[in-house]
């Protein structure tokens, strides 16, 4: 199909054949259909970044608490 063909355009091609003294002809009808819609791009969730920040804060607080009780 031509790359710029519009949806709904119809194109034809034909082939003739000879076999066992018989003549044949075939007609092929191709209708241009729409390309499938592109898959939407997955947007990375902000919660992933926020989760890392919270985890880091909690680990830091736990280390600080351990130092407070055992060192001081």
């Amino acid at each position: 199909m031509p790359a710029g063909a519009e949806v709904g355009e119809v194109h034809y091609a034909a082939v003739r054949a000879v076999s066992a003294s018989q003549n044949y002809v075939a007609l092929f009808e191709c209708t241009v259909k729409a390309a499938p819609a592109p898959v939407p791009e997955v947007v990375e969730e902000a919660s992933g970044v926020m989760g890392a920040v919270i985890t880091t804060a909690l680990v830091t607080a736990a280390i600080a608490a351990a130092l407070f009780f055992f060192v001081l």
């Binding site: 194109h11 034809y12 003739r16 054949a17 076999s19 003549n23 007609l27 092929f28 009808e29 191709c30």
Partner: protein
């Protein structure tokens, strides 16, 4: 350098397995001419049958394809010969072109007979491609658009 054609098409292949096809190819293979499941061909013993008029005749295959995609036809019938109907002969019963002007399909690939180049002292015969003789089990008519 001579430019042979506008599109440098079709790409010829010496065997059916090597037929060049366009991206997203839809293949149709015929092992006979009267199998309803594959698609019926119009036949004629003495006269060459006219091309079916799609307005009221049944076409052999009617299908859909995306723009930029291709399709191919293989005639896997031993002893058969086949050829593509030229664009200027692809007309309806009133001699009107079936395809829109300047929107005809471009033959992408074709199975053909290859004759190797022959070099002798003082002369050279270039390699050439020609029409396929009768089909065999591995080399049979094949066309892609």
């Amino acid at each position: 350098m001579w430019k042979v054609s506008v599109t440098d098409r079709p790409v010829f292949a010496a065997t059916s397995a090597a037929l060049a096809v366009a991206s997203g190819n839809t293949a149709f293979t015929f092992t006979g001419f009267s199998t309803a499941a594959d698609g019926l061909w119009v036949s004629g013993a003495a006269l060459v049958p006219a091309i079916p008029d799609p307005r009221w005749d049944t076409v052999t295959k009617s299908f859909e394809a995306e723009a930029g995609k291709g399709f191919s036809v293989n005639v896997n019938v031993v002893g058969a010969t086949a050829e593509v109907v030229a664009e200027n002969l692809l007309v309806d019963e009133y001699n009107k072109p079936l395809n829109l002007e300047a929107r005809s399909l471009i033959l992408y690939g074709e199975v053909a007979a290859e004759t190797a180049a022959v070099t002798t002292v003082g002369s050279e015969v270039n390699a050439l491609w020609s029409a396929l003789p009768v089909a065999t089990a591995t080399v049979y008519p094949g066309f892609s658009w």
